[in-house]
């Protein structure tokens, strides 16, 4: 089976889910088939990731391509869970583009299977990477929710009661979803960093790395966000802080990996 074909089919289905969720947003009633398209895309992409893992002989995310695809996939899963939990369909049109973006990048970056190295194998490594990506996916979700928070807040202030105003949930609801997303992100990244430290000590007998420094910095920022959310900053400032945090995540994911880190290059 050609993994490329499956991956692109998944992207196509994500695009369909995006169109359907926009239609569902504009229509006053009815759910449409957006969740079904999203679910089908997630299944296809999972199979694609599985095929890649076999070609690599290890977890698929030790390549940049695989890591991006997994990121997109986890974001999709996170959204499906959110959809099932909160029934807030207004988030979809804004979130699915990120799923499409990361999944497409994951397909466009050349995929060169190389023989697995000892430090990229084992359960500990797999958990370390999966949790890190889950954490970053949760922060991406928080980024989208924060954007929606700011949009909705602006609409309330200006008394603009259009389609988006009526479809987006109340500020408190978006804020609560945001808090959940950040909490999951912080927990996942914290455990991932701890596992990474243990793993690094085992394979390199040392933990110092630029990626680690960024991760700790990112963690501190989101922890500060959660603390402030409970103590008087609930609202716009928390949303803005989440946007800044997402900037850190993107920087960590791209520049730190490519230029600064020794341990976190893809190989």
């Amino acid at each position: 089976m050609d993994w490329h074909l499956l991956g692109w089919l998944a992207v196509l289905l994500y695009a369909l889910a995006e169109v359907l969720s926009i239609v569902a947003l504009l229509r006053p009633r009815g759910w449409g088939a957006a969740p079904a398209a999203l679910g089908a895309a997630l299944v296809l992409q999972f199979v694609d990731l599985e095929v890649r893992a076999r070609a690599l002989g290890s977890v698929p995310y030790r390549t940049l391509a695989g890591s991006m695809s997994l990121f997109g996939w986890m974001l999709g899963v996170a959204y499906l869970i959110l959809l099932a939990r909160h029934r807030e369909r207004a988030i979809g049109p804004f979130l699915i583009p990120f799923v499409i973006l990361f999944s497409t990048v994951g397909l466009l970056i050349p995929f060169r299977p190389s023989p697995p190295r000892p430090e990229t194998q084992g359960v500990l490594f797999a958990l370390h990477v999966t949790l890190a990506i889950l954490g970053y996916a949760a922060f991406t979700l928080s980024f989208v929710l924060s954007l929606l928070y700011l949009i909705q807040s602006r609409q309330i202030r200006r008394a603009r009661t259009g389609v988006l105003f009526s479809r987006l949930p109340a500020l408190e609801v978006i804020g609560r979803m945001n808090r959940t997303a950040v909490s999951i992100g912080v927990a996942a990244l914290l455990v991932s960093v701890a596992l990474g430290a243990v793993w690094a000590r085992r394979v390199w007998s040392g933990v110092g790395d630029a990626k680690l420094a960024w991760a700790v910095f990112t963690l501190l920022l989101y922890a500060f966000l959660l603390w402030k959310d409970r103590h008087g900053w609930k609202g716009q400032r928390v949303a803005v802080l989440s946007l800044v945090g997402f900037g850190l995540v993107i920087f960590s994911y791209t520049f730190v990996n490519l230029y600064f880190s020794h341990a976190h290059t893809f190989r």
Partner: protein, 420 residues
């Protein structure tokens, strides 16, 4: 529209567009008057069926009559009944017949003819009008079906368009905005300042929307107590308003105080006690009750009456944009009604009945031995002709158009002639 058996739909009406208040007051009917009027109309033979729709904004008499000139007779009847000059009455009203009368009712039921476009109350009023007419024994086949059809069409319009979705009233818009700040508005504390007309209006709206913690403060304490009792809220002392702000999620300013009642430092203190939880202010007072700089405080939302009126204007435009879609739905329903009504004539019914019998005959003949078929067919035709002769003669001879329609409708129903 074909008028079966010379029966015509008609409507004679006075509404907020055509008639000034003085005339409308005279033709506004109570339930008892409606029944009395309908009985009078039917007894005098002006209409064979009738329904009167009477609301604050309209009084409309729907009827099924034998001739096309029943409108004048109806106007005379109403002018005698209500003691109004017939010329003045006719000048202040409108008159539609046939398809136009049915279309008018459909538009009324869907809220397209309402003063506040797309409002839903009129649907219940149309339904009530039908019930009253039925109690008065004034409806039979046609108007009953017409009104039921109009109500169903009105419901369809509400379900398939956004014509009833965007609120037009100022309290509804204010609370719609607040509901986008707080998750569950009914569980929040709502503080209304001022027990005057506006304050009471907002308090009533909040109470109807399910508010569980509604507090009312007024400079004159008795009025606060009175207003609170009327809407199921709680009166709080005027002196403790600054304290109350700490609990209040939504604050409505509606006093006639010449200076601001809620000052910036009060709100800042309240926000400290609330640990930054958002507050939502609606200021409906002129001059303002709430210092406008309150809006600069973090997590505080403030709207004045102008903001809300702009939204109302925008919502009116949004509803108006739905009118073509609503009209298309109504036309579709109207055509189906008119097709049914047109079929209520004697000729198509007799033809339909003959065809139905011929079908039954052929089905039975197919099972008979081939040699006997010719004789059996002759027998069946003779029997059918004998059987149909007397009922058809009586049907055609009926002079009362309404009775004739009833009978045609009964035949169509019993022999299932409207099956598609």
């Amino acid at each position: 529209m074909s008028a079966p058996n010379d029966a015509h739909l008609l409507v004679l009406g006075w509404n907020f567009r055509t008639a000034e208040g003085a005339v409308r007051e005279r033709v506004a009917f109570t339930s008892d008057e409606i029944k009395e009027g309908l009985k009078g109309l039917v007894d005098r033979g002006l209409v064979s069926e009738g329904v009167i729709v009477s609301t604050c904004h309209r009084s409309e008499i729907y009827g099924l009559s034998a001739g096309e000139s029943a409108g004048e007779a109806l106007t005379r009847f109403v002018s005698e009944w209500r003691g109004l000059d017939p010329a003045r009455l006719a000048g202040a009203g409108f008159h539609r017949v046939g398809e136009e009368a049915a279309r008018h009712l459909f538009r009324v039921a869907a809220g397209l003819d309402s003063m506040s476009l797309g409002e839903s109350e009129v649907l219940g009023q149309v339904r009530k009008a039908l019930l009253l007419a039925r109690e008065a024994g004034a409806t039979r086949t046609v108007l009953h079906r017409l009104f039921e059809w109009a109500v169903a069409a009105g419901k369809r319009v509400r379900a398939e368009t956004e014509i009833g979705m965007h609120p037009l009233s100022i309290p509804a818009i204010g609370f719609e905005l607040a509901a986008k700040v707080f998750d569950d508005l009914s569980a929040r504390t709502i503080l209304v300042l001022g027990a005057g007309e506006t304050g009471r209006l907002f308090a009533r709206h909040a109470s109807e929307a399910g508010a569980t913690d509604l507090r009312i403060a007024n400079r004159t304490a008795e009025r606060a107590v009175e207003a609170a009792a009327a809407v199921g809220g709680r009166a709080v002392p005027w002196g403790s308003v600054a304290q109350e702000l700490g609990d209040a999620d939504v604050v409505v300013g509606a006093t006639s105080s010449p200076e601001a009642v809620v000052r910036r430092e009060d709100v800042e203190a309240a926000m400290r006690r609330r640990r930054g939880r958002p507050m939502f202010f609606l200021d409906l007072a002129v001059p303002r009750d709430i210092e406008s700089s309150v809006a600069e405080i973090y997590n505080v939302f403030l709207h004045g009456v102008n903001d809300l009126e702009e939204v109302a204007e925008e919502n009116r435009r949004r509803r108006a944009r739905e009118v073509p879609l609503a009209e298309a739905i109504l036309e579709e329903e109207l055509h189906r009604f008119l097709a049914w009504f047109g079929n209520l004539s004697v000729v198509p019914t007799v033809t339909g009945l003959r065809e139905r019998i011929a079908q039954m005959r052929d089905a039975e003949l197919a099972r008979a031995p081939a040699a006997d078929r010719e004789r059996l067919r002759e027998f069946a035709d003779a029997l059918a002709a004998r059987l149909l002769h007397e009922p058809m003669r009586r049907l055609k001879a009926e002079t009362d158009p309404s009775k004739k329609l009833d009978r045609v409708e009964a035949i169509r129903h019993l022999f299932d002639l409207d099956r598609e």
